[in-house]
Structure formats: C-alpha cells, structure tokens
Amino acid sequence: MSWTQEAENWIAWARTGDDGYTGYNASFFELLPPPTGRTIELGCGEGRVARDLRARGHDVVAIDAVPRLVEAAAEADPAGEYVVVDAAALPFPDRSFDLAVAYNSLMDMDDMESAVREAWRVLRPGSRFCVCVTHFVNDAGRFEPDSPDGAFFIDAYRGRRAFDEVAERDGVVIRFVGWCYPLESYTRALEDAGFLIEAIREPLPSPERVASATRAPRRLRIPNFLMIRAVKPA
C-alpha cells in the first residue's frame, strides 16, 4: 500500500514549507459547524487537520490506516486521540459522533464509498459530514504548459481513474497514489449513504497564498479543491 511506503515522505511534505494547505484550510473551517460533542476525522495523515480542529475547540478522534502516520500524529500532539483503523470499517458504535471530517483523504482510499457509508453510520442524526477533495476539474486534466499562465486541458473525466504522480517541493519528493473521480461519484456516495448536501464550495486560494507561491495565481482560474457539507437527516 503506497501510503505506507510514502509515510515518511508525507510527514516531511506536510511539515516542510507550504504545500498549499494554509491557502485553503480557512475556507474549509468556515464550512464546519461550531464545535459540539465529538468529531471524527477520517484519514488524518500526520495530523495537521486534527491539530487545527483541536485548536478550534473540537474534541477529535482522528483515524488513519497507516500506522506510521498515526504514530507521527500522536507524537506531534500527545494529548490528542489518534487511532490506526481503516475508514471503511470503523470500530465505533452507530450514532457516536456529532461531526465527521475528511480533508483530502477520500480520494486516497480504495473504498471511498464504504468510508462515506461508515461516516453516516457513526454520525448522530442531524449532524454533518464535511469533505474536501481535489476538484473534479483539476482531477481531469493538466496545465499546458505547466506554468502560472498555462491553459488547462481535460485528459479524461468520466469514471474513476487511477492517479499516480511523483511531486517535488522544498527538497521533498513524494509519490501520490490515489483516485480521480467525476463530481457524481462523490455525490452518489453521499446520496447512497443517506446524506443530503447543504453546501458546496469551490474556494479560491487565500490572497497570501496567491502572493507567495509562483504557481498559485493559476488557481484563480482553475479550481484546486471541492468542499462539501452534507447532513445526515434527523
């Protein structure tokens, strides 16, 4: 499993310089309901989203399938609760959480639909599932040329496509392996699980991000992320 192999690289990637997380996370946190009860984070990686949620007052259980990532998350936040478990088979009772969060993790899971179903199961009726994934436009193509003002060309949109690319930044090299989905795959997973969608966001990068990263201005033209707030009906 690739994320096991790439665990050290991901820890270095997320903790070295800025991969764009700080340019978008405010849009995501804006979408969340105020903290109440317990929050579960699906696919926490090295833990930065869980740490930020805790700093905002959420009582978080963060899970990831990769033991080394969970270990790194726990080391960085000894008071936090980090558990090694597959999002597609959560060891928590039905209706035991008040908010579920998946930040750029659903597209890396081999069974995205089961993870969404599990989120629905562990949520109390009336509570929310907030998701950030790579945007369906971004997932379907590439900038040509790969420059700040390059146009964007669609390679393939329809159906689930495998993603496998090596990236390099600030001296860190990482191989990203996951999946690309059209919009309907995500909304169908939510629909089939029983969620209704309250809000959809296609956020622009923050002005700070646009000013500081050479290639960020092209994200004022082509979306990078898609954010969704869904509700489990009461």
Binding site: V137, L183, R188, E191, I197, A199, R201, R221, I222
Partner: protein, 164 residues
C-alpha cells in the same frame, strides 16, 4: 424522446398537489409532465415572482431554464417560498465543466478560466439554493453518447433538491 429528457423525467417524483413548470415549453418536458398526470402551473424562464401562495406547490421543475437566469438567488428564493417543506426542485442545467471551456479542433477540451462570471459554477447553484431552504439530494452528470466529444465531457447536469 431525447436521452436527456428521459434521464431527467426519471428524476421527477410522481404527481402531487401542484407542479411549478419553470420555462414551460411545449417542445420540452411540459407535455411529458402533463401526460404523467402533473397538475401544472407554467411560469416564465426566470420567475422572480410566481403568483402562488406560500407552500402551494410540492414540486418545481426546471428543464434547462435556470442557466440563463440573471438573478439565480432571487429565483431560488421564490421557489423556496412556493414549494412546501418536503417538496422538491428538479433541475437540468448546463454542466459547469462544459461551459468552462471548449473543444479544440484536435478534440481536446481546453479551459482557460473556470472561475468566470459569464457562466454559473457549482458553487453558484449551492449559494442560491442554500438560503432558499433547499438541500441537494442527487446529481446526475449527463453525457451525449452520440457525440464522441460529449461522451467524454458531460454537457448537462441534472439535480434534485428537497425543501427543508
């Protein structure tokens, strides 16, 4: 019947008390709805005012009639007013991916700017429907299998939303 119309009609719930037909047009889905037994009130394509009491309808149908609306939030608000809680909006629009770019002569689909105020993006529909009290239930991306290009990039997007 065109495939898109057939796909769209499959999303429309059975007839209830009253169905608002937005942009009613005998060339499109209006005859199908009538034949299915819907009691129809037809309104113009961009209804900022519908002459119905609050909650008088339990369904609003908009087949390719929201795309050119100038003030979508106002239209959504009015639909939220006339559709009773538990009722639905079923709409077909142009897919924001398809209106963000164009096919080149070599068959490649090129996008210069998705965030272009000259077309509606997904967030625009969400931002309009949210305050009107609608929650999205389903999205269906509609392809045109008879055209090679549009079998790869969906020209249309259908959705249903429930009035909370």
């Amino acid at each position: 019947m065109s495939l898109h119309r057939a796909n769209f009609l499959a999303l429309v719930p059975p007839p209830g008390r009253l169905t608002v037909d937005i942009g009613c047009d005998d060339e499109r889905v209006t005859p199908d709805l009538r034949a299915a037994g819907h009691r129809l009130v037809g309104v113009e394509s961009a209804p900022s005012q519908v002459a119905l009491e609050d909650g008088a309808a339990d369904l609003a149908v908009a087949f390719m009639s929201l795309t050119d609306v100038e003030d979508l939030p106002a239209v959504a608000r009015e639909l939220g007013r006339v559709v009773a809680p538990g009722g639905r909006l079923v709409a077909a629009v142009v897919h924001p991916l398809s209106t963000a770019g164009a096919f080149q002569e070599d068959g490649r689909f090129r996008i210069d700017t998705y965030f272009d105020r000259r077309h509606l993006i997904l967030e625009d529909y969400s931002r309009a429907l949210e305050p009107a009290g609608f929650l999205f239930e389903r999205f269906r991306e509609i392809y045109d299998e008879e055209h090679e290009n549009w079998s790869r990039v969906p020209p249309f997007l259908d959705f249903t939303a429930v009035r909370a």
